[in-house]
Amino acid sequence: MTGSGLDAYRTWSTTALTESPKYSVVIPAYNEEWRIVPTIGAIATQMCTLGEPWEMIIADDGSTDTTVELVQELELANLQLLVAEKNGGKGSAVRRGMLRARGDVVLFADADQSTPIEQFRDLEEQIDAGFDVVVGSRAADGAEVESKSFMRKVFSTGLSFIVRNIFRIPVSDTQCGFKMFTADAADRLFRRQLIDEFSFDLEILYLAQKFDMKTAEVPVRWIDAPGSKVEAGKVALEFLRDLAIIRWNDVRGRYKADNHERPGPDAHNPDRPMAV
């Protein structure tokens, strides 16, 4: 990034947008006091190089550490902080962030920067090509995966097989925390989302397929960030349970209508805790 890129960051950090953002970046955060500030800095500097109006949304998930205070103290002009009164699960945090996003293109990215934000453009190219949903993938040809534990590799391979062959979801990596959506797709999918836990990604991709949305996978560089909160064995069991729940929800017709509303404009006040 050049000096002008740094100038763009200075402007973004001090001056609120007067126009609708082209991009929204949603970051769910639960007890991320050790990681959230460097992640915000890295994402903000990179996004400001794109030369388009954009916003960042930190969707707290009822953190009990100082995550919320740290983010508030940054006082970044185009950062919305959504505070949850209690821990509702990663899926609930992402949903609140996605339904608050105003951008034409909306990315959600994990708080640990395990998928570096520099790959934003790679996903956006597929949105430009007409896809509704673009999934960052650690399993697609060309992906670079560093430091992934053996157990996570085993579970990923097994679950991927089930997802592709039994549930017919044509995505080899449903769980990478780096996914991009058109505004319309995000609105339609996250309004219907019912799963609040780890498997919400799977539900979103299931719904995208159900609604005949165009979904692309893009290989990404991914680093198993230190301090990952993913417990592979426990998550795998929950994943299998949630697969059954998703199918049961569908059979019961629970995805036919919206299950959530977009929040009202008064909920933009970052100092006011949001109901979850």
Partner: protein, 101 residues
Amino acid sequence: MNITAATTDDGPLAFVLSGRFDAHEADGFRAAIDPALGATEPHIDIDLSDVEFIDSTALAELVRAMKRCRERSGDLRLLTPSNPVRVILELTRLDAAFTIV
């Protein structure tokens, strides 16, 4: 992350870092830099111009090394941090703690 060291006859010892500096790299960083921290009045430069991301553990490592240098009447300077690293230093307010050149 790659770490390369360079020495000059009269200047400070310089370490050039490149890539992603996170907790995975903390041990390697310590192994590279700790021998230099025991010198009398250690003056060390850390070139961060090619570091794309730095996490909290890495920041803590830099602070640790800087304090060790200053305890021995030396200093640790950060050279031309990349823009992401510069912004992260600012957001964490560590830009005021370091000598940044």
